[in-house]
Assembly symmetry: C2
Homo-oligomer: 215 residues x 2
């Protein structure tokens, strides 16, 4: 499958490399077409990897991933262009973290909105699916590195078919347990959880952890 990734940071390049390893063609998008990090990634990742602007990546992908920092995400998808994302699935792994007041960050959305919803409102003809935003990027693409892969991740979105496509990709990453929380408003749940995730990171001293939902 052709996949566009918005964002050339650690999350975008880690997910991009995993998708390449799984046989997909990936175009990494950044603000400018000549981003050095993106070029270096594409060279290292081989013939199925390419890079370009946000709009190039969005147009290239049958499916797109938002791997940009939360504070930039709305501006990035505007730059990518709603026409380039129309009718497609946008997997949103970002979090609405506001670092402007120091550490620990707060949520710039408050608890009555979420970045997932903001992106869905910005792109009404795109199917936004929130996913993987509750774990470190190394765990996102290799769940087996935590508890033998026995732990949970979540999807939120308004379109059942779109969530199904994302769950299929997650299964390819090695995820056994994916909980469908409901529509895109349930992004408020997983984004708010970041406030606990950050404190757990501090208490545990490692980002290599996750939650397993037990009954």
């Amino acid at each position: 499958m052709k996949i566009g990734i918005l964002g050339t940071g650690m999350v975008g390049s880690t997910i991009g490399s995993k998708l390449i390893a799984l046989g997909h063609e990936v175009r990494l998008g950044s603000r400018t077409a000549d981003n050095e990090k993106a070029a270096a990634w594409a060279t290292a990742a081989g013939p199925k990897a390419s890079h370009g602007t946000f709009a190039d990546a969005a147009a290239f992908g049958e499916i797109a991933w938002n791997c940009t920092q939360g504070a930039a995400s709305l501006e990035v998808v505007r730059g990518a262009g709603s026409a380039n994302l129309k009718g497609k699935v946008l997997v949103d792994v970002s979090n609405p973290l506001d670092f402007s007041k120091g550490m620990p960050p707060t949520l710039f959305t408050g608890s009555s909105d979420s970045l997932g919803e903001q992106l869905q409102r910005e792109l009404p003809e795109t199917k936004v699916v929130k996913a993987l935003n509750t774990i470190n990027c190394n765990v996102m693409v290799d769940p087996a590195r935590v508890n033998g892969g026995d732990h949970d991740t979540f999807v939120s979105g308004n379109d059942a078919g779109a969530k199904g496509k994302v769950v299929e990709i997650l299964r390819g990453f090695g995820w056994k347990n994916v909980i469908d929380l409901g529509d895109i408003t349930t992004s408020r749940g997983t984004e708010s959880y970041l406030m606990l995730w950050l404190r757990l990171w501090g208490a545990l001293g490692t980002p290599d952890f996750n939650v397993k939902i037990v009954r």
Copy 2:
């Protein structure tokens, strides 16, 4: 031990009954001394149970629990009286849920504050310990009803000795895994998690669940 409980709802009476079962003396406090629910609870719970006003319960306890609704908690501890809580541990199990805009609720504290911190600021000479606010009250007092008791709960507070006392009580409830998240500001983490807890409740169809932190 003599324990005062602020709040006569399901959480307060459930915790009160558990503490009685463990051999403690418990006074349940409410807005008025003649609260019918509190009187009925005390009659049913036996000779170690009593009831009175918030101030009565706070004065009675060597340790106190805040089991009131989040939106009322500050007013309740003001009613209980800072002098009656001075030098004592206050275990805060409440959550800052705002139901005024409909369901699902939002957090009236935002993500740059927490109810745990608000209570600590209100009662500077009391040692506030946030605990058990991430689970249903039936699971709070009987962790074995979920996954054989193998899952996690959290404490947040500025005083290590106070957290130690609370952890001891939690062990009496059956909790094996208690993670110390740090100072009272880490309440922001467990309170924000409620936004996910509520969505998980919806997705799982039962409040009898919890998270197990896995590495």
